[in-house]
């Protein structure tokens, strides 16, 4: 248990003029964990992902370490190649490239796979997420919302990252589709990829996360086991708002 965490954030801060969007945030994620991040709108969750990946801006101060090595001074594509991959809330795919080309491009660029192996890796990743074969040649813009999530996860698997940062992947999904997404996240984890998950859908967070951190006004207000965190009075007050959810 004394092993160095796979991803570690130390005192991360991001200021925009007088506004401090992320304020002295520190956390560490062991390899293989699903680490959940919750918080009300505007609490700094997505900004935290932005400064970890350097897209579109780096932190104002603080450090990001991957397997103990600093990555926060690297350029965005170098951070990706080092093993930190992030998804956006929407428009994460390349719209006119086919589903297969999307995953294939991730495999050759991010994982650095040779083209023949990348073809096999892309097919395997699409099999893993069970995207129907008949849909794989279709432009990504023509896929349904859930199929785009499948594509997003397949691209992530083919990229072979060490850590996958998922930014509100359940946005726009129906309840049954959220269950499907839960299974997809478990598939990612089963491939040995550590997951950091930002999500508003608490059911999904509680279902897949082993550790939960809650932000409010850019600061960490609670961190620990998900069941304990959702009972924390500060969290109930700041984010959950009702006793029923905390129960």
């Amino acid at each position: 248990m004394s092993e160095a965490p796979l991803l570690e954030a130390r005192n991360l801060t991001r200021r925009f003029g007088a506004l401090t969007a992320v304020d002295d945030v520190s956390f560490s994620v062991p390899a293989g964990q699903v680490f959940g991040i919750a918080g009300p709108n505007g609490s700094g969750k997505s900004t935290l992902f932005n400064i970890i990946t350097g897209i579109p801006f780096p932190p104002s101060s603080g450090e990001v370490l991957l397997s103990g090595a600093a990555v926060h001074r690297m350029r965005p594509h170098q951070i990706s190649r080092a093993g930190v991959l992030r998804t956006f809330q929407k428009d994460a795919e390349f719209a006119t490239l086919s589903a297969f080309e999307n995953v294939y491009t991730s495999a050759i660029y991010c994982a650095g796979t040779a083209s023949t192996d990348a073809r096999a890796a892309a097919t395997q990743a699409l099999d893993d997420v069970a995207l129907p074969t008949g849909r794989r040649g279709m432009a990504a813009s023509g896929l349904s919302v859930f199929e785009r999530k499948q594509l997003m996860i397949a691209s992530a698997i083919a990229s072979r990252p060490k850590v996958l940062l998922l930014d509100e992947p359940a946005a726009g999904l129906t309840k049954p589709e959220v269950s499907g997404l839960s299974a997809l996240i478990r598939t990612v984890r089963a491939r040995g990829i550590t997951v950091v998950l930002i999500e508003h859908v608490l059911a999904l967070l509680l279902d897949v996360s082993e550790h939960l951190m809650v932000l409010n006004y850019g600061r960490v207000i609670a961190s620990g086991l998900p069941d304990d965190v959702v009972r924390d009075p500060k969290v109930v007050e700041a984010y959950l708002g009702t006793r029923e959810i905390a129960r």
Partner: protein, 293 residues
């Protein structure tokens, strides 16, 4: 209209269209990938024609034409890379990059045009044709150079299409054009691909300048009129669609040739604009462009 006249107009239209397709594709490639218009694109044509003339013409160094072509293409590729690095790259993260680069690339266009005038003077120059002689095409006699333009345009554009579709770099360029942030996230070195895009686009402009430089007279403003036509074609074809650009180039070339035949060279350009405006009123996204909601 007699059959001979039809054939002559058709062939003339195909030659025009081939030149337009080559020049507009380079412009379209930069737009599709970076979301900006390079107004110095036509000036790169001019620069290539002058460089090739200087190396290969008897009044210049008098070397083999092949050497002139190679040096000219290398020269404009270097100029394209310089344009990207010096006057486009500093504004990548600026929200008004489109407007700023209109000004910076226009400035580069003027710089190259006036620089060409200082170096080569205002006197008309013409390159030796790559292939001398005449050939018969669709019942009309044209210069072998024009036949070369007709043959090379689809070949070069086909190669460009295959490169973008099947190569690692080509896929990267397409990915960057659609979603630069997502491209960075999957480990694509976006700024490197921007340089490659500018280099490819400049090479296309350079080759077009060399091919056209033996059919038309080369002056410092040699690339200005093709640039305007290329802009129209890229918009008419549908912004962001290389296929649309190529289709539009061939349509516009043929349309221009027929309009010149029927209403004369003075009215044809105005009529082209009127027709294009009418078409864009009905289909504002262009021929193959997608509706943005």
């Amino acid at each position: 209209m007699t059959l001979d006249a039809l054939s002559t107009v058709l062939v003339s239209g195909i030659v025009l269209a081939s030149v337009y397709a080559l020049i507009a594709s380079g412009l379209s490639l930069v737009w599709t990938t970076l979301g900006i218009f390079n107004f110095a694109h036509g000036a790169l044509m001019t620069l290539a024609a002058y460089l090739a003339w200087t190396v290969s013409d008897a009044a210049g160094l008098g070397l083999w034409l092949g050497a002139g072509i190679a040096i000219a293409v290398a020269g404009v590729v270097a100029a394209g890379v310089l344009i990207e690095r010096l006057i486009v790259r500093p504004f990548y993260d600026h929200r008004d990059i489109l407007l700023i680069t209109v000004m910076t690339t226009l400035a580069a266009m003027i710089f190259i045009e006036k620089g060409s005038q200082l170096i080569w003077g205002a006197r008309l120059k013409q390159l030796r044709p790559v292939v001398p002689g005449q050939v018969n095409f669709l019942g009309t006699t044209i210069s072998a150079q024009e036949a070369l333009i007709i043959a090379l345009a689809p070949l070069l554009l086909g190669l460009l299409f295959l490169f973008l579709r099947n190569s690692r770099i080509g896929r990267g360029i397409r990915a960057v054009g659609q979603n630069p942030n997502a491209a960075k996230l999957i480990g694509i070195d976006v700024s490197r691909l921007f340089i490659i895009t500018f280099a490819l686009s400049a090479a296309l402009a350079g080759l077009t300048g060399i091919l056209l430089g033996s059919v038309r007279m080369v002056t410092p403003a040699f690339g200005a009129e093709p640039l305007v036509k290329a802009l129209i074609i890229v918009i008419f074809g549908g912004l962001g669609s290389l296929g649309g650009t190529i289709v539009a180039a061939y349509l516009l070339g043929l349309l221009e040739a027929f309009l010149i035949f029927f209403i004369g060279i003075y009215w044809a350009p105005s009529m082209i604009f009127v027709l294009l405006i009418l078409i864009l009123l009905v289909r504002p996204q262009g021929l193959l462009g997608k509706v943005v909601r």
